[in-house]
């Protein structure tokens, strides 16, 4: 069957099960848009900015576990995808980005809208391709999806020159991928699993340190089995919120820079960390040399390069979390059936005591300004467990992770590693496309919101309704918090103005419903109203206390032992030279 290169691309995407593409057309990518008229069943969602298209593809991938697809033209179209691609690389999100390129005869000639996008994205993709022969399109797409979705997932870019898209080729779908240099190890070594179980049985103060890899491996059931079998307490990192239910008695919640006291301190005092699909990131470990000083380490990861990268490991296990955790739970159960579950009641009682004494806290005065934490708690209380929550980066992200109670995996979506402002609105839109039956709530900051708010136009044009709750404090709040604590309250470049833009009017201009709450007693009514709207997106402008700060806090570069529980114990550093680095 003779097809154009462009049709070959779309047929290949169809073969890969792609249902939706988020994109914006342009000169070089126009051939890809022609078959979308009548020759391809794939839905194209026209975004308003390529960054929005990229984050939407990410949100779709987070929410579904499938590969998200975004598409842009050459030059600026591709460069606008750079941020979401880098974001997907850092958070191991499987997306395929398709870009048009100037025709091959003028590649390298500084042609109109030319940018070397494969060169630009080399360090931020898992792999990328420049396809110069239309006969290679089908196998390239197949390889791209295979690479994006297997092993440690990540972004893959395919760059397609216009003449290659226009050229005729013979359609054929390869029956397998040929990637001799790519063979991820998925099966964990049974002997290493045995060594790990020995350590678990001997441990008096073990903690399961769970990262996003457990969700990516769809291993949350297996995790629950392992935790309950061994009576092992669980911390879930920012990337793993929902991997283990917050309501479970063994769940300690989020560790790290803004984690709760119990989660942070459990890692510090543990004699064994069972690290699953996690990478000992600096936001979790604090000062690395002082992190979990007494703990032996079992480290399970599908990426061998993560094992031993930051912390020396006692039992390394390369493999897919689902496979390894299954084996670990089975081996543990078998060993315990002989000797019983070790008695660790002292440790579990200690953890429970900390949880009781040091919960997340804030004070909402009835006549005071609205506290952002209160908004999150109220948004949660009116929502069911099946609600998907999306955040960008900053204070709002931390409040959302701290105060939302997660019960299921793939119900928390945020920009973890790269910390991308503007992630939430387009990612929420992508999540809603992937999970149309679920309510999606973006909890956003006013700074973040303004970076990608234009996708509200997409959401209301394409009928993709979701709720955006702006915790509007009129500041770049996290930077403001650091200036207050570490720069002697010298505020610089952080004031945004809570009144400009008028978020209610802006929402209405985009065809969304705009709501506002200015005092605590208005909060519930506004949330109820927002959740009652089904046919279009809603934006809530919560006017929150600009002075509120995120606690607990482990200052950057400090030991987790030096956790600051609240503003009363924060000791500002006045010497700029002493100010911690980010």
């Amino acid at each position: 069957m003779k097809v154009t290169g462009a049709l070959a691309v779309l047929k290949a995407l169809e073969q890969e099960g792609v249902e939706v593409i988020f994109g914006i057309p342009g000169g070089a990518s126009m051939p890809l848009y022609d078959p979308l008229v009548d020759a391809s069943p794939i839905r194209h969602i026209l975004c308003r900015h390529e960054q929005g298209a990229g984050h939407a593809a990410e949100g779709y991938a987070w929410a579904t576990g499938k590969v998200g697809v975004c598409m842009a033209t050459s030059g600026p179209g591709g460069t606008n995808l750079v941020t979401p691609i880098a974001d997907a690389k850092m958070d191991s999100v499987p997306i395929v980005a398709i870009t048009g390129q100037v025709p091959t005869p003028v590649v390298g000639n500084d042609a109109f809208q030319e940018a070397d996008i494969t060169g630009i994205t080399m360090p931020i993709t898992k792999h990328n391709f420049l396809v110069k022969d239309p006969a290679l399109i089908a196998e390239t797409v197949r390889e791209a999806f295979h690479i994006a979705s297997t092993g440690r997932p990540g972004p893959v870019l395919i760059d397609l020159p216009k003449d290659v898209l226009l050229a005729e080729t013979t359609w054929s779908w390869p029956d397998r991928v040929n990637l001799p240099g790519y063979k991820p190890t998925t099966k964990g070594n049974q002997r290493q699993v045995g060594e790990a179980v020995k350590l678990i049985l001997a441990a008096k103060q073990p903690v399961l340190y769970v990262g996003g890899g457990v969700i990516k491996a769809n291993a949350t059931q297996e995790l629950a089995t392992l935790a309950t079998t061994g009576r092992l307490p669980v911390v879930t990192t920012l990337m793993a919120r929902g991997a283990f239910p917050d309501s479970h008695e063994l769940c300690l919640g989020m560790p790290g820079m803004h984690g709760n006291y119990t989660a942070v301190t459990s890692l510090q005092k543990a004699d064994l960390l069972i690290a699953l699909g996690t990478r000992f990131d600096d936001r979790v470990t604090g000062k690395l040399a002082a992190f979990a000083p007494n703990a032996k380490i079992i480290h399970v990861d599908i990426d061998p390069a993560e094992i031993g990268k930051n912390r020396a490991v006692d039992v390394p296990i390369v493999g897919d979390c689902k496979d390894v955790i299954t084996k670990m739970a089975a081996e543990l159960e078998a060993r315990q059936s002989e000797h019983g579950v070790p008695d660790r009641s002292a440790w579990l009682n200690q953890l429970e005591d900390w949880q009781r004494r040091f919960p997340y806290r804030y004070e909402q005065k009835p006549d005071g300004p609205i506290k952002p934490q209160y908004c999150v708690e109220r948004l949660r209380s009116f929502a069911d467990d099946d609600t998907i929550v999306v955040a960008g980066v900053g204070q709002h992200q931390m409040y959302a992770s701290q105060f939302w109670r997660f019960e299921h995996p793939r119900h928390w979506i945020n920009s973890g590693g790269l910390g991308t402002m503007g992630f939430a609105v387009p990612a929420a839109m992508g999540a809603k496309v992937g999970q149309p039956g679920k309510r999606v709530v973006a909890i956003d900051g006013d700074g973040c919101f303004q970076m990608t708010a234009q996708e509200l136009a997409t959401s209301n044009t394409e009928k993709i309704p979701f709720v955006t709750a702006i915790l509007n404090n009129g500041y770049l709040g996290m930077v403001r918090q650091w200036q207050e604590l570490f720069f002697d309250e010298r505020y610089s470049g952080v004031y945004l103005n809570p009144d400009v833009p008028d978020y209610v009017k802006l929402a209405e201009a985009y065809g969304a419903v705009g709501l506002r709450a200015e005092s605590p007693e208005e909060v519930d009514a506004v949330i109820e109203k927002a959740y009652s709207v089904e046919d279009r997106s809603v934006v809530i402008d919560f006017r929150v206390d600009p002075k509120e700060m995120v606690f607990p806090m482990v200052p950057a570069g400090a030991s987790n032992d030096d956790i600051i529980l609240g503003p009363e114990s924060a000791t500002p550093t006045t010497d700029p030279a002493e100010a911690p680095i980010v």
Binding site: M122, L130, P180, G181, Q192, D303, A305, P316, V318
Partner: protein, 177 residues
């Protein structure tokens, strides 16, 4: 190996001969903060595969991270770290040295001792072609410095493991676990 402080390592990397593969490898080194001392690329016994010999100056980061990160590149087929003495390592050097008057005979004498070829002659210079172990080239070069080196070009080191097996049969020590 050659500078005596133990921070130079030689690795052979078998890669698919695809566009951009050199950029991917060079980019990985700079992005991850590793220093390349030398890098030599060429075709291999198998069509479609190239072989790179990379000499790495490992200072703060362990060699293990280099090999693990390289191994993650899709186009990298195999990596082999050559332990000291386990490989034949050679380099080619072209050096143009000042050699007029009495110096000419002395340079030619050195060339003979080191068994290197003289490949170009002018009234005032000689160009020497030398191959050998890196140590030999260093020794030759230090002798020639006295006469004045006009120009120097080196290929960078290439290496093959000793013994009867090829790289494809060897197991990378560091990258798997």
């Amino acid at each position: 190996m050659s500078n005596g402080n133990g921070t130079l390592h030689t690795i052979s990397v078998l890669v698919e001969d695809k566009p951009g593969v050199l950029t991917r490898i060079a980019g990985l080194f700079s992005a991850r903060g590793f220093n390349i001392d030398s890098l030599a690329v060429g075709p291999t016994e198998t069509d479609g595969l190239s072989r790179m010999t990379i000499v790495i100056n490992v200072e703060s980061k362990p060699l293990e991270q280099v090999t693990k990160q390289l191994n993650k590149l899709i186009n990298v087929i195999k990596i082999l770290e050559h332990e000291a003495g386990s490989a034949v390592e050679r380099e080619l050097m072209l050096v143009k040295v000042r050699a007029s008057g009495d110096d000419r005979a002395r340079v030619m004498e050195i060339a003979e001792v080191f068994r290197v070829n003289i490949v170009d002659v002018t009234a005032s210079t000689l160009t020497l072609e030398a191959t050998g172990k890196p140590e030999k080239l260093e020794a030759l070069l230090s002798l020639l410095q006295d006469f004045g080196v006009v120009e120097l070009s080196r290929t960078g080191r290439i290496a093959l493991g000793r013994g009867d097996r090829g790289i494809r049969e060897r197991v990378l020590k560091a990258a798997n676990d």
